[in-house]
Assembly symmetry: C2
Homo-oligomer: 418 residues x 2
């Protein structure tokens, strides 16, 4: 069966929420646990309450709202969620779609008078973005025991206060302990944040997992020298080594093939003068793969080659790990249900990994979890121009409803469903 969702109601809510922390040129800034986050939490929680959902809030501010099952039970819900915090120059859809889309699913099901065997729930998690407090996916990580509560509460933000202090400042902490949230499964609707669906003209991404991430910072040390007076053979040019490492990262991606990706996003030379051979060069390499063995092989190749390239130039290289996450594989059965749901609803879809991190990966080790992607115009995200069209959103929400209903188990009610 399918349930009719109200796209106008959903879009109105997305635009209402976007007024909080709205930036002059469009987009939003609602850093985690900021006054804007407080305001958005109140607005969304108010909507949950108005629908008569049972509100829960844990000690790190994760908030979930449950629609009871046909027997009034609220345990082990089919949980749908995401986040409502944004980066400093965020868009309207990243995270918000997963929360308000889930709420729309619950409202539509409610409006249709459909009763379910399992409760349905919608949640937003604290500090998914990591733009103010490190690490990202903090709230969901704490809720699922993947991150330590005390350590996270002590994390100090870019503007001074700790998570604990920021929670207190806006009154976002609840009474429920970590671990109070025990879903039977987890579903997250999200914009793709990449260009693949749009480029291939597809409506739905059936997300199979989250790429593993390896971030390294290389510091190459050579010798400063005069660009005119130093013969090439006497140079120890840190910049040349850095450039060669950057091209090696690209070669690794080409050699391994998809889904391996490699990105050199930062590069700095010192002393950074036109006529001075760089003494030091710092660059970052971001490697991602859905397969941990492949990712390790890519790392090994890169690290080894960086050493060789430095040695050939008479330079040295040191490396530090900025971030390292193993790939996450979503529940095959639930992923299959998403794929079948899309087919049943006549939507064009492809299976794909997520290249970015999401709250869903914190749930994956603990309950069947999966994600649904809808297209991002030009692949743009974490940007005020982030855009997904209402009809694209409507399809994603309809599919979310379809899968959630299947998982929750539904009965006909008032003769309005199949």
């Amino acid at each position: 069966m399918s349930v009719a969702i109200d796209i106008d109601r959903l879009m109105a809510r997305i635009f209402d929420l976007a007024k909080i922390g709205a930036l002059p040129g469009g987009g939003c800034k609602r850093l985690a646990l900021s006054p804007e986050d407080a305001e958005s939490r109140a607005l969304v929680t108010g909507w949950f309450e108005a629908r008569g959902l049972e509100i829960h809030r844990d000690v790190i501010g994760n908030t979930w709202a449950i629609r009871a099952d046909r027997n009034g039970g609220t345990t082990a819900p089919v949980l749908m969620g995401s986040h409502i915090d944004t980066v400093g120059t965020g868009g309207l859809y990243d995270g918000v779609l997963g929360v308000l889309g889930a709420f729309e699913v619950i409202e539509s099901i409610d409006d249709a008078g459909i009763e379910t065997e399992r409760p349905l729930a919608v949640a937003f998690f604290t500090n998914e973005e990591g733009a103010r407090f490190q690490p990202d996916m903090m709230g969901s990580g704490v809720a699922m025991g993947e991150l330590g509560l005390d350590e996270m509460l002590a994390s100090v933000g870019i503007d001074g206060p700790s998570v604990a202090e920021a929670l207190a400042a806006i009154g976002a902490a609840g009474d429920e302990p970590v671990g109070a949230l025990k879903p039977s499964c987890y579903l997250e609707l999200h914009i793709e944040q990449g260009p693949v669906l749009e480029a291939e003209g597809l409506e739905i991404g059936v997300v199979t997992g989250v790429q593993g991430i390896s971030w390294s910072e290389f510091t190459v040390s050579g010798a400063t020298a005069h660009a005119g007076t130093t013969p090439m053979k006497m140079r120890r040019d840190a910049g040349v080594v850095a450039a060669a490492i950057a091209l090696e990262a690209r070669a690794i991606a080409a050699s391994f093939g998809p889904p391996q990706v490699a990105t050199v996003g930062r590069m700095r030379f010192s002393p950074d003068l036109v006529n001075v051979v760089p003494e030091t060069a710092v660059l970052t390499v971001d490697l991602r793969n859905t397969d941990e063995t492949e990712l390790k092989a890519a790392e090994k190749w890169l690290f080894s080659k960086a050493e060789t390239l430095a040695k050939v130039e008479g330079c040295t290289v040191t490396r530090r790990t900025l971030a390292r996450f193993e790939p996450v594989v979503f529940d095959p059965d639930l992923v299959e249900e998403v794929a079948q749901g899309a087919a049943q609803l006549g939507m064009t879809a492809r299976r794909m990994p997520s290249g970015a991190g999401h709250d869903a990966q914190m749930f994956a080790p603990h309950c069947p979890s999966a994600m649904i992607f809808v297209p991002s115009k030009d692949g743009i995200s974490h940007n005020t121009t982030e855009f997904t069209a209402p009809d694209e959103i409507a399809r994603g929400v309809a599919l979310l409803a379809q899968v959630a209903l299947t998982r929750a188990g539904h009965a006909q009610s008032e003769g309005r469903v199949q």
Copy 2:
């Protein structure tokens, strides 16, 4: 014949001058036309006056002091000189050696009672370094008509005032017009500012000319994209193109062979984030060669390859010229005299181009000009740790005296010379 120079007197003067603008950790800061420059001009001019030399100063502050010929004439002198301004973190020898070394030559000749057929002169030129006002080699360039006076006087410094204003502020301008300085030949003693002489264990560099210089800034424009969600084949990575251009510059130097050198001293990515494909990359390429045809060929190769590399990645590249000087070839006869002088004095020497610019290149089109290099420890210059040992300096000054005397034509006097 050779004349005995007084290395202790010279070193004492070098150290006295180094007290002006002395930096806490060693080295000097005497930016052109600064109060420190004014103080150093007064000190050095005072020494010239104390020796009884005839002082001249032109409208841009170039200062020269003439020891008359045997008939009391002061026209068409054998001119020796360099500069006494420094970069922001300069050393004790760059420029200073060419001025105080030349003065030591004149004093030694004077002390020996040697009379010459032509006058001898020592000069310091305004703003050789270009650290405060662009371009460098300004004073000598104006003196020889290579740079326009009005344009140079209007050049605005990094701290606000123009050259004209700065000249007035420290009272450095003289009454003599541009072009008043008409030497019969020009000799400049300078530290190598490179590692070649030290590496090869040689005492003297017989400078054959100054490398041509081509400075380009490339701006590569691609598309910003998420490092995780954007497949490699969909990327337009400005950073990858920049890295490839940097390695191409290195390949050009390798392919052309010495004296071609190529340096990428600056490299910047934007937005410069670990997980974002660079939208823009800016890099500089410094190409130098002693042969203009070769230098043009290197430029053509680099510019063409940069276009190709950008195109392959779906990026665009623009280029602007930051600086361009044709190679300078010093007078073969005078260069030969320097080489023969070194041999006569039993000094080990090699012919070599200058990789850096010097006042001598402004004289080269107008009168026979040449330079003498002495070793720079570790090739370091434009740095407070710049160092050349007194015995190395003594050899350079003795050779300068030898060549200057040959050019000036000398007669025995008081029986002390051969």
